[in-house]
Structures are given as C-alpha cells and as structure tokens.
C-alpha cells in the first residue's frame, strides 16, 4: 500500500511482516525509530508470535539473535556505527557459523571523533565478516531489501546486513509502497534451518578448527558468497514479479550503456547523482551512473559489464581508509579493465551534505581531465593548510580549531556548498 511514511517505520513494518520470532534491540542513533516501532508493534499485539528482547548492549543483541537463529527461529536486530563495532566479534562469529540473521545497519560514521551522522564507515568495518551486505538507495528499496534479505539469508544460510543511510533515509518521510502481510507471506516461506540445535538430533555448532582444515572451511564460505551472487539476482527478479515492485539486483545502471564517464556509488547519494547525470546529459555529456546494491558479495562481473566501454570511472566513496584513500573504490578497481581510469571522490564523511552542485562540479572536472585520483569533496583547504602549517612550524596543533561556523551554526545545517 502506498504510504507517506518515515523510512524507519516502513522498514519496521516490512520486518514485522516477515514474521520474526525474536527481535532484540539496543538503542543507538539513528536506528532507534526502527526498533521502537517493532517494540510497539509487539507490545500492542499488532506483531504476534514474536518476542522483543531489550538487551544490555549491542554485543548482547547480536548474541541473542544468534541463539535464536541457531535453534530455528527467525531473528532480527538493528544497529549502527559504534554499536556495530561493539558487536563485531560476534558479527564475524555469526558470519562464520552461517546463521541467517537479518540486521539493519543505519549507516553512521565511526568515532573518534564521535559523530552521529551518515557515512559508510560502519558497514565498511564489517565488510570482511562474511555477511551479505546490501545497500538501499531510497526507502522503497530499503523496505524491499529487508524482505528479500530474510529469503536470501535463509536460502544461502548466511547473515544479511541491510544498509540504509542513517538520518538521510531512516528519518526521511517519503512515498513507499509497503507490502501487506499477505504479499510477504506469499513471498517468504517459514524458516527451515540448515543446521539447528535440537535434542532429537544433537549437533555441535562452533568447533575448534585447526590449520589442517581451516582453509577449506573458509574457501567454502567464499564459495557460498559467490553462489549468492546468483541467488541475489534470482530473488530480486522474483520479488519484482511477485510483489510488483521495482527490480533490485546486484547493480543498478542508469544511462551507463553509452557513457564515457561512469559514476559508481552506494546508497542514497545515487539519487542526487542521477539528477546530475540528467542535467549533464541534457548538455550533451555522455555520463552515466552505476549504483551497487550488493556490496558483499562484490559483483565484479556485473559491475564490469555495467561500466562497459567507459574510459573513466568516478567513485563517490563515503568511507575513508586513512593512509590509503577510498574503500569502495579499491573494490571497484578490481572490476575494471586496466585501460579504464578510476578516480576516488571522498564525500559526505560524517554526514556532510553532498549537493548536486558539488557533484556536478566534480564530474565537469573529470570530463575535462581535471580530476585528480583522490579528491576530498568540498574540503576546506584553507583550514587544513592552516593546521598543517601550524603543525610544521610550531610542532603542535592550533589551540582552538577555527571551525568558521556562523553564529548559530546554521551554515553546517544547510550544508556546505563547494568552495
């Protein structure tokens, strides 16, 4: 049903319609609205057959989900940023054990410095944990991906992380076609676990694996991920058909077929990029964009095909690997021919706005060969130069960072427009 609804709320309703048995929650900005909504639905009786467990930490949240999943009950939790890191040991554990938990990550920057706004550093920190990672471009996709996630997780027996940009998507009220309970029931069968704790057929889960077998076990995990590439596409096709929603596969190309320059990105920034692509194309520029929906497993082949014959790729990277550069762009590079040049634009760290104006400016630079391999979008060069110079000359930092914010700090709220 078409609703004008907050992203968090749409996701909560989608998850509820998937009939989870155990939902465990520890609050962290900006995921709180999701778990609060599910909690309220459980308490009011709107969501039945589900226990909502208030746990004492994110580490407990994922662990409770693991126990529930191991005994054959569909389990869900949500987190972000610091919370994801706090549970990271268990995230790897769940990945290795292949427990089909679904978890929302409301993408948020990781401290220090502490920052509650949106970027992708949290999801990136967990990219090697063996989870499937899906990124939603808008709230319709976020809603749809959660439903597909349960089906996907249980089919391949891997946990799935559905990433949606914190605040930007979670707190945006927009039009979403929220599937009904009947529609979800038709798409998502009851959970049939591949391995389960059961007194009638005892198994041991979580053995100690030594050097003689570890590599094989890990290879099988990798193989499972590669197999999941096909499963993701297949489930995406089926979902679109059965649910009459837009198809969402591994990647989503937009005008990339004939493009000379292709932008690659994850998440909500894709919306703004598409607007800019339209604008540039109307002026004759051959520009396109490929959004990556499935980040893990990484769709090397699908991305390669979508990029096609483009000579330039510009990656908008919302996470930084200090000392190297982009994180997404490193993975993207592996999908490209050597003849395709690639530039990384680090953008939107810690929730800094990415405006159409800034995107357009960067792409125009790229089109005339003036985009360096690594650029920090909308960086206040004067300020950082000031700090670096001070460090060099005085051997210490400036006494108080001159943030240059207006009297009310309104400037930062409206968003920096490129200087």
């Amino acid at each position: 049903m078409l609703r004008q609804i907050e992203g968090s709320r749409a996701v909560a309703e989608a998850v509820a319609a998937c009939r989870p048995g155990v939902v465990c929650a520890y609050p962290i900005t900006p995921q709180t609205h999701i778990v609060e909504a599910i909690g309220a639905m459980t308490k009011s009786g709107q969501l039945t057959g589900c226990r909502f467990v208030n746990v004492e930490s994110e580490f407990a949240a994922i662990s409770v989900a693991m126990g529930a999943s191991a005994v054959g009950t569909r389990a869900y939790t949500a987190t972000a940023s610091q919370g994801l890191l706090f549970m990271l040991e268990a995230v790897y554990n769940a990945g290795g054990l292949g427990l089909p938990i679904v978890m929302t990550v409301a993408n948020r920057a990781i401290g220090a410095p502490i920052n509650i706004w949106n970027d992708h550093s949290d999801a990136m920190a967990a990219r090697d944990a063996g989870w499937i990672q899906l990124f939603a471009e808008n709230n319709q996709q976020a809603t749809d991906l959660h439903i597909q996630a349960f089906r996907l997780a249980e089919e391949v027996s891997l946990p799935v992380m559905v990433c949606m940009d914190g605040f930007v998507l979670t707190h945006a009220v927009e039009r979403v076609d929220v599937p009904s309970q009947d529609e979800v029931d038709a798409f998502l069968p009851p959970f049939t676990p591949r391995q389960v704790l059961d007194p009638h057929l005892p198994t041991s889960i979580g053995a100690l694996v030594g050097p003689e077998a570890f590599e094989e076990v890990r290879y099988l995990a990798h193989a499972r991920h590669l197999h999941a590439l096909n499963t993701i596409e297949r489930i995406g096709v089926e979902y679109a058909e059965v649910m009459h929603r837009p198809f969402c596969g591994l990647v989503s190309p937009y005008h990339s077929g004939d493009a000379e320059l292709v932008v690659v990105a994850l998440g909500s920034v894709l919306g703004a990029v598409k607007d800019v692509v339209d604008e540039l194309r109307s002026g004759g520029a051959k520009v396109g964009v490929v959004g990556i929906t499935a980040f893990r497993p990484f769709p090397l082949e699908a991305l390669h095909r979508a990029v096609g014959n483009a000579s330039q790729v510009v990656v908008i990277d919302r996470a930084l690997s200090a000392g190297l550069g982009g994180i997404l762009s490193s993975d993207v590079a592996m999908a490209l021919d050597r003849r395709t040049s690639i530039a990384t634009v680090i953008a939107g760290l810690g929730g800094r706005a990415i405006t159409e104006h800034s995107i357009e400016s960067v792409l125009r630079d790229a089109l005339v060969g003036r985009l360096e391999p690594l650029r920090f979008l909308d960086l206040d060069h004067a300020k950082v130069q000031q700090e670096l110079a001070h460090l060099e000359n005085e051997g210490c930092s400036l006494p108080t960072p001159d943030t240059g914010l207006g009297a009310t700090g309104l400037t930062k709220l409206v968003g920096r427009v490129g200087t």
Binding site: E56, V71, G72, P199, P202, G206
Partner: protein
C-alpha cells in the same frame, strides 16, 4: 603415651559414585549405566581435569532432570576447546559455542526462541569458566539475570584463565600464583583485594536459585542441578573445579583438593533463593587452610623446603578469610 582420640566413622559410600548400601533411587546419575554421557570419552582434557568431571556430572544430571530435553551453550575456554577438535566432538547433546563473552546472551536467545516456538519443555544451560563468567562474560550475564531469562548458568571455576596458560582472573584467590601474578616480589602471587564474590553477585540480582558446589560431593552437585532445573527463570550454579595444571596439583588428587577447599572454609557450599541463603552444606571435618594449600603448587611459595610456613602472615590472612566464611555462613552447623 599416645594420646587417645575418639574414633570417628565416616560413611565413604556417600561420597562415592554409587553404593550398594544406597537404594537405587538414591544413587547418583553417574551410577546409572543409562546416563546420557553428555560429554563422552575422547576429548582432549588434561588428566585429572576438574572441569571435564564437573561438566559431565552437571549435564548428565540436567539431562536426567529434563528427560533429555536440553540445549547447551558454551563459552570459549578449556571445556569448549578440548571437547570439539574439528572434525570430532565429544558432545552427545545439542551444543553451541559462540564467543567468550556471550554465552549468557546466546543462551537467552535460545530460550526466548524456544518459548516463541512453544517448546518450553526444552531447557537451556549456559556454561563457562570463571573468566567467561566473572570477567569478560559479566556484562552479558548480568543482562541475562536482569531479564530473568530461563537459563541455568553454570560457572566451572578453576580460578584463572587456564586455556590460555594460567593467567589471573577476578576469581583468582589471594596469594595464588598465576602467569600474570607470579610468586615473586614483596607480595608473591595474586594480591589481596576485595575479591569478586560471584555467587553473592548472582544473589544480588534476586535470582530464583543460586548455589555453589564442588566436584568432591557428587550427590550434592547433582541434587543442586536437578533442583535448579525445577525452577524457571535465571539461575546460577558456581562449581569449584580444581585444575591440575594451573593449581599444580596431582591429577589424581582433584577430588581431594576440592573437598579440602570446602572443609577448610575457603569455599562455602550453599544455596540461596531471591537473595537469601536457604541451605548450607556443613563442613564435616574442619581443617586449617594450610592443609588445603599444601596440596597446590600455586601456593608453593607459602612454604619452605622443609614444609614450614614461609609466609606465616599470608597464611594467617587466608585463614582469616576462611574463618570469616565459617562465621558468615555458619559452616560448622550446630557444632562448636
């Protein structure tokens, strides 16, 4: 002339696994050939491992009490490592190992899911060593206690991180030597601190059932497990399990060492409900702490080559701890 002392007779049979003089109904679970053998032979534990013994007794009793409807969640530690060397497993019951710190949380998840499934007749035990209970596992454990999740948490306390090479935990007693509290310097061994009384911490959460036990008294241990499984909600059982490696004791002396821990008063054996002690297992034959400590190389620095007290003031302080327990719990019963 030799001093005359009154003769005392003990019925050894009551400490033994089974006894012809005891009726079938009163024999231990271990005496029953049809016991589950929850953790069966072939595991890689050290000779004389108190934890392996404790786990077998606890889980077989729990399987009896639950009619075989049991799922176990195990923290990282010796027990998990020596029992599941892939591709083998010693466990004959459904068993899961996740991480060091989260056994209580995972068990909470299992219990909650079983409730959702309408299969509450299947019961859940979470088990860990002292490290996974009082240190890294404490947060999760406290959370489970506070939610009153239907889990029995069993701590096999060998008073240090044995799996990783005998490092000190919050459960390590004062003056004990570990790799991180060596028997050197002015105050050899673990410092005297305020301790971390886990059974009392469990009691402070208002749990329906808390108990302590040792591997020396099999009847007592099994009875407590069976009683615990008769309750619903969060429960805690703290079992003292000597470790021949870490305590530097004779592998054959594990049970004797555990018995002396109780008999000298350093390890009170009791039960509690909702924060109040409800029963105490009296000391049968009071001994000075020295007779307990002498058996253990981890206290070797307290005695000189001739076996005399090398640090009498330390012994005195340890004796004072034991005396305090005896007074606080009434461990001598109604005897003077």
């Amino acid at each position: 002339m030799t001093e005359r002392r009154p003769a005392r007779f003990y019925q050894v049979g009551s400490f033994a696994a089974g006894n012809r003089l005891v009726s079938l109904a009163e024999r231990t679970v271990q005496a029953d050939p049809s016991r589950t053998n929850s953790i069966t032979s072939g595991h890689r534990a050290c000779q004389g491992c108190g934890e392996a013994l404790g786990a077998r007794c606890v889980l077989d009793a729990a399987m009896r009490a639950t009619d075989g409807n049991l799922i176990v969640v195990n923290a990282t530690g010796c027990l998990e490592v020596f029992s599941t060397p892939y591709p083998e497993s010693s466990w004959r019951i459904p068993w899961m190992h996740s991480l060091f710190a989260n056994a209580a949380s995972v068990a909470s998840g299992v219990a909650t899911a079983l409730e959702v499934q309408g299969r509450e007749q299947i019961r859940v035990i979470a088990q860990a060593g002292d490290g996974g209970t009082v240190d890294i596992g404490f947060g999760a454990l406290s959370g489970m206690f506070e939610r009153d999740d239907d889990v029995l948490f069993v701590c096999y306390d060998n008073q240090a991180y044995m799996n990783t090479g005998v490092q000190r935990s919050a459960a390590t007693p004062p003056a004990a030597r570990t790799a991180t509290t060596e028997a050197i310097g002015l105050h050899p061994g673990n410092p005297f601190g305020q301790g971390k009384d886990m059974p009392r911490l469990a009691m402070a959460h208002g749990l329906g059932y808390v108990a302590t036990a040792t591997v020396a008294d099999l009847h007592d241990l099994e009875d407590k497990v069976i009683r615990a499984m008769g309750f619903r909600g969060a429960r805690y059982l703290h079992v003292l399990v000597p470790c021949p490696l870490g305590w530097a004791t004779e592998p054959s002396a594990t049970i004797e060492v555990a018995r002396r821990a109780k008999e000298c008063g350093l390890f009170p054996v009791f039960e509690a409900e909702r924060g109040r002690v409800t029963s105490v297992s009296w000391i049968r034959h009071l001994i000075p702490v020295e007779e307990y400590l002498r058996l253990q190389g981890r206290y070797g620095h307290l005695f000189d080559a001739d076996g005399r007290a090398a640090q009498p003031e330390v012994l005195e302080r340890l004796q004072a701890l034991a005396d305090a327990n005896i007074a606080a719990y009434g461990l001598l019963g109604d005897r003077p």
